[in-house]
């Protein structure tokens, strides 16, 4: 079941190694191996709970092309990561240098055609 037509992954940190691997949380829609992130957004982080009264402030939004090559969660290699799950993604492509902790990687998911 897809909860949303926007796939997103919040980057919390990195795994050191040869491959570019990010740790974070999947958004409302499952992310699968082969998916390609096309946008990297960064929002101003909240410093107090009172700050949540206002919509988040977008700091920047940049095009990237980062393909999901591998997904790891719960000590396993998976074909997909589901909504709300935490795990790590191995990514390959262009724009990795734009990714910092706090970045939200986004892509548009396929929306089924309707009659």
């Amino acid at each position: 079941m897809n909860r949303s037509d926007l796939k997103a992954f919040h980057v919390n940190g990195f795994v050191e190694g040869e491959a570019f691997q990010v740790i974070g949380r999947c958004g409302d829609s499952a992310i699968r191996v082969g998916d390609v992130f096309s946008i990297a957004c960064r929002y101003q982080s909240r410093e107090r709970l009172e700050d949540f009264a206002n919509p988040p402030t977008l700091l920047d939004s940049n095009p990237v092309s980062l393909r999901v090559q591998e997904i790891r969660a719960y000590g396993r290699i998976l074909g997909e990561i589901g909504p709300g799950m935490t795990g790590s993604l191995v990514l390959a492509g262009t724009g990795a240098e734009r990714i910092v902790p706090g970045t939200i990687l986004e892509m548009n998911a396929a929306v089924p055609a309707t009659a």
């Binding site: 919040h10 929002y43 709970l49 949540f52 990561i81 909504p83 709300g84 799950m85 939200i104």
Partner: protein, 150 residues
């Protein structure tokens, strides 16, 4: 010391009837030691359906709990306990509490919640900024919601 010696309940914030997209296939379900965390997840999920906080006594899951808190920073932040059961199996063993009820009872215990959670970055910041409950506070929360109509 086993998990059962340390905690009495685990919690899961989700929408009623949501089976997860991947959990059924890998046979694992993510839960938390803290009802504040579960309430934040339920609040986030509420735009997709009827949001609830499941309360599950750990005594019903003996031998099926994996302490995942030390695996990474996010799991530590969430107090993540992974259960070797699917979301619907867990739901069958749980008491479901409306997210609004859970939030109100937790606020009575001194928890403070963000007014809105707009995106994934907000959820992360909310998890970072909210207070975690003590074992006694968690017991008080469960007693309070058990006194409410189910």
């Amino acid at each position: 010391m086993s998990i059962q010696d340390e905690i009495d309940y685990i919690f899961r914030g989700t929408t009623l009837g949501y089976l997860g997209s991947i959990y059924p296939r890998i046979g694992l379900t993510s839960t938390t030691t803290d009802p504040v965390v579960a309430t934040l997840f339920a609040t986030t999920a509420s735009r997709h359906g009827h949001a609830v906080v499941y309360i599950i006594p750990v005594a019903k899951l003996a031998g099926r709990l994996r302490d995942n808190r030390g695996s990474n920073r996010l799991a530590e932040l969430e107090g993540e306990i992974v259960v070797d059961e699917s979301p619907d199996e867990i739901a069958a063993k749980a008491r479901a509490v409306e997210v609004g009820t859970a939030k109100a009872e937790l606020e009575r215990l001194g928890a403070v919640f963000p007014l809105n959670i707009y995106n994934l970055a907000d959820l992360n910041d909310a998890l970072r900024l909210t207070k975690r409950l003590s074992r006694e506070e968690i017991r008080a929360f469960v007693r309070a919601v058990e006194g409410q109509p189910g």
